[in-house]
Amino acid sequence: MTQDPSARDLVWLYSNADEYAPSDLTGTPLPAPELPRPGGGSPRAWDPRWHAFSTGNYVLTGIGFGVSLASSLIPAVPDRWRTTNQLDEWGRSNLSPATYDDARWAQDVSDVLLSFNIAFPLVVDSLIVAYWYRKSPDVAKQIALISAEAFAVTSMLQGTTAGLASRERPYGRDCGDSINPELDHCKEGRRYRSFFSGHASVSFTMAATTCSHHLRHDLFGSPLADGLTCGIALSSAATVAMMRVVGKQHYLSDVMTGAVVGTLSGVGVPWLLHYGMADSANELSVQVDPTGPGLNLSGVF
């Protein structure tokens, strides 16, 4: 990198790969001093009492995603679970539009909100806030890895359960009737992966990890802003879950189970495996270590 100490006002010219300066293809930017800028926030430090991501966590994350992918190969068994309960039937009858095509908008809403729920801790919290705004690369890395780990654990639980349970989705009974039986949703294995909801569980997992990171790192620097972010993330996850019912993809029991499992994973993975209760007198933490062919879980209570 070239240096010219006499030209501090031109320091932007000497940007290296770690900095950004606009090229000649950008006009004069609006100053907007109230907007965040790189390094503008106070840094966040990783407390040595917390458990940083280690080999065991990498193994757990890899196993989680691997099992989730493998679970997609579990063949569907159409007749394994077609029974419902009164609550599920009430939801199917009263919360969903009459036809499958009329329910597509709800599927789209759940897809868009799900992607925001997933992206938020990875892109906003980790990259933009911790890495860029607060110049805290260690914390940024831990936030991203912990979020991915919680995602992997949830995916493993959801994928395996959905494959083995093989519950037919709410729209399934309409295939060949009001829904063209040649539709991919009718012919493919996804028709029998209703229990429990992947959208709901992953959304709640990422929302809960978002809350955990904001609570632990005070990422937005204000209890109100951090609390509001947590509330919005959870509200988004709840909307995702509801839209899965409206969109005829899941029964109420599917999304409620997904919400519970997702929240437990989104809270449990960050706090039990990493953050612990380092601020309290009674520390609570679980360590993941790869031991031989498996993983060893040890706890301090």
């Binding site: 932007w12 010219l13 997609s72 868009v112 992607s115 994928g159």
Partner: protein, 291 residues
């Protein structure tokens, strides 16, 4: 028992992907390129741009001469992998600071899309019918993307022409890159947008984009418009998002017909990519003179 030959990919990691495949050229690529690349050395190079989002990965490999990501000529190759299908692009590129040109061929094999019987309009369910031949295709495409500094930001435009092959006569195909039902062989797109630069060094970008996609074989148009945004985290790393819903179309495809192009990160890399001291000095002198 129900087969899972296609479903395995769709159900990966527990959720369907809102974006089944990597998006097409957004047009903001050169508007956000950092000065780091502008002040690079002219040399033979290998370079990459990697787009990662939910749930796709699109690495683009470049081999050429010049300044990668800024002004160069060479070859491009881009495998694409998403839960919607697999494909690749290969071609030639020439980039000038204000104008990017490329031409090449792109093949795409969708996991769950089949060719379509010609109709006046299509519903979302129509493109999900597993009837008829698989909807793979080979597209020969040429594209020009221009960028101009204007006011507190950049004006950008993209013009794309596409010739689709491998599709039997009298069949339509869902084109996965532009996300439209096309009547082969011809397809074109024109996109225009403005990206406002905000904050220190203009690292925060927010803009509007609109595009028209011509479907000559169907004698129809698709019009989309929406928001594009990015935060330039470094000269190499960019967080980006865009959502251009359909404003006008003969079809009702919902999100499958919208450009929910990106919600993820882009990473740029190039060999020997340290800035050229001579260019840095010249730029500094030019800036001093302007002041």
């Amino acid at each position: 028992m129900v087969g899972t030959d296609r479903a395995w990919a769709v159900e990966a990691v527990g959720v369907d992907a809102p974006v089944a495949s990597p998006p097409a050229t957004g047009g903001t690529e050169q508007a956000v390129v950092g000065r780091y690349w502008e002040l690079g050395r002219t040399r033979p190079f290998l370079a990459t741009t990697v787009d990662a989002g939910l749930i796709y990965l699109r690495p683009r490999f470049m081999a050429g001469y010049g300044r990668p990501h800024w002004s160069w000529i060479g070859l491009e190759a881009a495998p694409s992998a998403g839960v919607g299908g697999l494909g690749y692009y290969s071609g030639i590129s020439a980039a000038l600071p204000y104008l990017n040109l490329r031409a090449g061929s792109r093949y795409f094999y969708p996991f769950s899309r089949h060719l379509l019987e010609p109709r006046e309009e299509y519903e979302r369910s129509d493109i999900g019918l597993l009837v008829g031949p698989v909807g793979d295709y080979l597209a020969y495409e040429a594209e020009a993307a221009g960028t101009l500094p204007l006011g507190p930001g950049s004006l950008f435009a993209v013009a794309t022409g596409m010739y689709i092959s491998l599709v039997p006569p009298d069949m339509y195909v869902y084109e996965d890159s532009l996300k439209v039902v096309a009547a082969p062989p011809w397809l074109w797109r024109a996109r225009l947008g403005y990206l406002l630069a905000l904050g220190l060094n203009g690292a925060i970008r927010l803009g509007l984009a609109g595009e028209t996609i011509g479907l000559p074989g169907r004698d129809a148009f698709v019009v989309r418009g929406g928001l594009v945004a990015s935060v330039l985290l470094s000269s190499q790393l960019e967080a980006q998002a865009s959502l251009l819903p359909v404003l006008m179309s003969p079809d009702s495809l919902g999100l499958a017909g919208s450009d929910f192009g990106t919600l993820g990160v882009r990473y740029r890399w190039g060999t020997d990519s340290t800035p050229d001291p001579q260019r840095v000095r010249e730029a500094a002198e030019a800036t001093r003179a302007d002041r």
